[in-house]
């Protein structure tokens, strides 16, 4: 069992992620967010546990339900709100939105929608560091769903990571569904850990509804990657406790399945309280604090300027004078 301090930190990250997501869902319902909104409900344990294993200097390619990992790795509710509201102050300056947000300089990769496409860039970051003698014990984490595991882009990247033996942790959140498609239509193996060996990855499995189990598996995988034991895969078994996006009622999820998978957040809270790691009052206070933090971030973001078509520059090249550009030494 991990140390109490870490478990309390994980609990807080999970609560904050849930609060962020809840607020985003409400904003979407109120019509304040353009486009789609995606929630990580039910995945906070696995995502948060992975995020807590990341250290400054690491690089992380989140998937669409990784609010918890993001927060654990340094994203703030203000970063979230600025982007979902399209503020010019946000990472994406209104050009891209929602869960595409990221910031290369903080190691949170701003993703393109195409599932699987962010894995090879993580390999590229690590390879560049190794070539530059700057790899140290940094690692790269790649999050993906069981649906995204099928993309050719991911496959090709895993091949490279295996062959180059890069310090990567692949975090597979198998949440029973890819949009409305059940996992039986996504893979024909027992579970996706069976894909690890073929890429030269070591594999861990964990119960995604059990935060302690997630912590155990993630800690083992990140430690192994950091000490040079080669690429690692962690597969979590869980259920998406929301629609694909807020527009989706997920009515295609049978009740039987819903009853089989618990909600990691109250489960973890009960465990921590039962084991005396957390008091009920602390839990209540944490929830209130997180809600307040999210609310403050929202107010701040709302007060900031939105992207502005008239004054924002529309340049697609960073070079200002391609016409006369010349190599010089």
């Amino acid at each position: 069992m991990s140390d109490p301090e870490l478990r309390r930190r994980l609990y807080r990250v999970m609560v904050l992620a849930r609060a962020c997501d809840d607020r985003v869902a409400a904003l979407k319902a109120q019509g304040e967010i353009a486009g789609s909104a995606f929630l990580g409900r039910g995945q906070e344990a696995f995502s948060g546990a992975a995020g807590l294993c990341l250290r400054p200097g690491d690089v992380f390619a989140p998937a669409i339900r990784d609010q918890a990992a993001r927060l654990a790795f340094g994203e703030t509710p203000l970063d979230v709100m600025r982007v979902v509201l399209g503020r010019r102050t946000g990472w994406m300056r209104g050009r891209d939105g929602n869960i595409h947000r990221g910031d290369w300089s903080r190691g949170i990769l701003p993703f393109i929608s195409h599932l699987g496409a962010m894995a090879a860039p993580v390999a590229g970051v690590l390879l560049a560091r190794r070539l530059g003698g700057r790899l140290g014990d940094t690692v790269g984490a790649i999050a993906i769903g069981e649906g995204g595991m099928n993309t050719g882009a991911l496959h090709e990247a895993l091949v490279v990571i295996g062959v180059e033996r890069l310090p990567v942790v692949l975090l597979v959140a198998d949440n029973c569904y890819a949009y409305s498609t059940p996992r039986e239509r996504s893979y024909a193996c027992r579970d996706l850990a069976e894909r690890a060996a073929g890429y030269g990855f070591a594999a861990q499995r964990c119960d995604g509804t059990d935060a302690d189990d997630c912590l155990r598996a993630c800690q083992a995988a990140f430690a192994a990657a950091r000490r040079g034991s080669g690429p690692q895969m962690v597969v979590a078994d869980l259920l998406r406790l929301a629609g694909h996006g807020t527009h989706d009622d997920a009515s295609y999820v049978p009740a039987e399945l819903r009853s089989r998978y618990g909600d990691c957040l109250p489960l973890f809270e009960r465990t921590l309280i039962r084991e005396g790691v957390l008091s009920a009052e602390e839990a209540e206070r944490t929830r209130a604090q997180c809600r307040a933090e999210v609310e403050a971030a929202l107010q701040q973001a709302r007060s900031e300027p939105a992207a502005d078509a008239a004054t924002d520059e529309w340049r697609v090249y960073s070079e200002s004078d391609l016409l006369n550009l010349r190599w010089r030494r």
């Binding site: 967010i33 353009a34 486009g35 789609s36 399209g86 994406m92 209104g94 050009r95 891209d96 939105g97 929602n98 595409h100 393109i112 929608s113 195409h114 599932l115 649906g147 995204g148 099928n150 993309t151 050719g152 882009a153 890819a178 949009y179 409305s180 498609t181 239509r185 996504s186 893979y187 009515s251 295609y252 939105a306 992207a307 502005d308 078509a309 008239a310 924002d312 529309w314 697609v316």
Partner: protein, 323 residues
């Protein structure tokens, strides 16, 4: 009937009337019925013929090629046209080349939800016709009306060549007409349609932009007394050169309006066609209005400024008319 309902109607009739047809795509089976609900109810009515695909856009196209060559009539749906980028190779190098290389036709249909919606952002709003038309061998159509949404889909299935059907996402829910398949005019798949007649200039457009062109034409008429003809290309490859040149000959002035990227693509091809083959009729330099040369922006204000709007079309038309 709405544009989306016309598509659903056509899809149901295709399964009923064409026993070789089947659908393959992400999340298209029941009860979900597709990200845009185009196939809602169909897997229940036609068991085993509406299949959910894993997230494998490239293999979806490859699978359709094999099924088509085997004699089936596969109709694949990409969730957003933007994700068809993953299948670029199978589409342009395999589906498109097979008849020419082997003499055997490859009758498959690719349904592509295209076009911008506010908040959609860089990867859920693209227009793919630029790259689909550039490579030889694909038929590319872009229905802009409820009737075309219905007819062109069925015509695409009747076609023995691979057809990409661009369905505009904004039109899905927002375009409605009292279309009756039994009585509506059924143009051939490759024909352009004159949506409005005029003397002073021709606005050439396709897909969702046709409706902005029509609105601009109405404004030009009522506010400026300028009679703009609006030609809806319908089929982007091959082009109905005859109709394009006839309209150019009629008005002498051409403005091409679309929502895709500005460099190359269909707009440049149509403009080149007008100049190469209709030079003598040109009373003014033909012009294009396109999106800006950037990715599609997420924020609704940026998005609004990104695409040519009615005002921009009117402005460009006025300049063209007074050249």
């Amino acid at each position: 009937m709405k544009y989306l309902e016309a598509i659903r109607l056509a899809l149901g009739e295709i399964l009923a009337e064409e026993p070789r047809a089947f659908f393959y795509g992400q999340d298209i089976a029941g009860p979900f019925g597709g990200a845009f609900k185009a196939t809602k109810g169909l897997s229940e009515r036609f068991p085993g013929r509406v299949l959910n695909s894993p997230i494998v856009e490239d293999a979806m196209a490859g699978l359709a090629i094999g099924a088509a060559m085997e004699g089936a009539r596969p109709i694949i749906e990409y969730q957003f046209a933007d994700f068809a980028s993953i299948a670029f190779n199978q589409l342009v190098n395999h589906a498109a080349t097979t008849y020419w290389r082997t003499g055997r036709s490859c009758p498959l249909v690719i349904r592509l939800p295209v076009g911008g919606t506010p908040g959609g952002g860089p990867f859920h709003c693209q227009m793919p016709e630029g790259w689909l038309t550039h490579h030889p061998g694909l038929v590319v159509v872009a229905p802009a009306t409820v009737a075309d949404a219905y007819f062109m889909l069925k015509d695409a299935v009747a076609c023995r060549d691979p057809v990409c059907v661009l369905e505009h996402k904004y039109l899905y829910y927002h375009l409605e007409s009292d279309f009756d398949p039994a009585t509506a005019e059924h143009l051939g798949l490759g024909r352009a349609a004159l949506r409005r007649r005029g003397e002073d200039l021709t606005i050439i457009s396709w897909s969702g932009m046709v409706h902005r062109a029509l609105a601009a034409a109405a404004e030009l008429e009522s506010a400026h007394g300028i009679a703009a003809e609006v030609l809806d290309l319908r089929c982007l490859k091959p082009l109905d050169a005859e109709s394009i040149l006839a309209s150019l000959a009629h008005t002498g002035r051409v403005l091409i309006v679309h929502e895709g990227f500005p460099y190359g693509g269909v707009a440049a091809e149509v403009l080149a066609l007008c100049c190469e083959r209709g030079f003598a009729w040109l009373d003014a330099p033909p012009q294009r209005l396109s999106a800006r040369d950037t990715p599609v922006p997420f924020h609704p204000d940026l998005f609004a400024a990104y695409l040519p709007d009615e005002r921009a079309i009117v402005q460009a038309a006025l300049e063209l008319a007074s050249f």
